[in-house]
Symmetry: C2
Subunit: 236 residues, 2 copies
């Protein structure tokens, strides 16, 4: 289902920060929105790409699959964030797939419309550079972690990134605000489901986290930071 | 040493592709060039950043160091490529360091100058998005390789990327056209110097590569592709 968007949906999106009302009206005139039910694929790796997507509501998982079927979770996208934009620069083809992990509303632009918008309003291109630059820095961090850190620290880093991105205070601590499986965590940290399960069980026994099916609560964020940063046990 | 650049140095740089002569003249007016001797540091991780660097001549290694001193080689930059640009989007601080691995000439812009250039000439911002987008896709590929592939394949992938980037035909095969140590390869593939040495020695015994101190020649690129893609030995 495709509907014409209301300009108010762009409010607070980093991609459109600093634009005036006339520019925002121009941006929505070129856009279409769509509702995507939980579990549906928004686009597949290798599909021909749109010029850009931004999430209005819901949560999207970006997954890359290797030639032999091995999956890596690239990131989770939350409300207000852009996604799928790399296709514009990768021969028009999505380098990874996107799946709705909650009911979603997205807004999208064709490649020609997004390019023309960036030329008319260079601030959009500068904003996009900041966003993609930040993601490049984050993936470089993950590469360094994966190259040099043992698995327990990588899982702690991945959980802390998710807390920063989508944490919400609950009575027991900080909850990661969307469905997150142990398999997702394994595919985010380059390890196996078995190792993630063993690590989370040990942390549960120590009272650091609480996890159920597709549900994680960090009870002691400071202790998780100590693991991620490899601080001596005394300071945990 | 800082000298005013000649507009001809921008020719063929992807960052400035599609600009007319007036725009190129504007770009060089805002720039400064500098010579950097082999072995010198151009900037350190954590230093306050410039708005952008582009390499006119030479070769630069971008290295990220973790809190405990573990290093990861992010990439090698060749003539015509931009580097150091992420600082503009990371609180003004370089997220990685840059070392000249050959005598270099670079051209650079302040953050204010680069932002103003992108606003006056949105094509520069769109070009930068394409470049940073391509690098993000490449680091995502490396993350997937590191998560899911055994070390021999990762070393083969790293060498093939360097061949695409800086390979030159020589009598014995394809030479990687800049000084590359086994330690560099270890820091590009998340493994140890010992493992890289053992792997290269095995490949040398099979006649696939030839390597000396800071020097690698691929004698049989197709055989290396077969290893990288995990094709059955029969087809090697």
């Amino acid at each position: 289902m495709t509907i014409a968007p209301d300009p108010a949906v762009l409010h607070g999106m980093p991609l459109f920060a600093g634009l005036d009302a006339a520019a925002l009206a121009d941006v929505v005139r070129q856009a279409r929105t769509a509702r995507i039910p939980k579990g549906a694929q928004i686009f597949a790796q290798g599909d021909e790409g749109a010029g850009g997507h931004a999430l209005i509501d819901g949560r999207v998982k970006i997954v890359q699959t290797g030639a032999e079927g091995q999956q890596v979770v690239i990131r989770f996208i939350g409300p207000g964030e852009m996604f799928g934009t790399l296709a514009m620069f990768m021969g028009g083809v999505y380098p990874a797939g996107a799946v709705a992990v909650a009911d979603c509303v997205e807004i999208r632009w064709t490649p020609a419309a997004m390019t023309a918008l960036m030329e008319r309003h260079p601030r959009i291109a500068l904003n996009a550079l900041g966003i993609i630059g930040g993601r490049l820095a984050e993936v470089q961090d993950r590469l360094r972690e994966l190259s040099t850190q043992r698995v327990e620290r990588r899982i702690a880093h991945a959980l802390l990134r998710l807390v920063r991105q989508a944490g919400r205070r609950v009575e027991a601590g900080v909850e990661i605000g969307f469905p997150l499986s142990r398999q997702d965590l394994a595919e985010m940290t380059g390890t196996t489901l078995h190792t993630v399960s063993r690590t989370l069980s040990a942390w549960e026994a120590q009272g650091l986290v609480e996890s159920g099916r597709q549900h994680v609560v960090i009870r002691k964020p400071h202790a998780l930071v100590a693991i991620a940063e490899d601080l001596p046990p005394a300071s945990r």
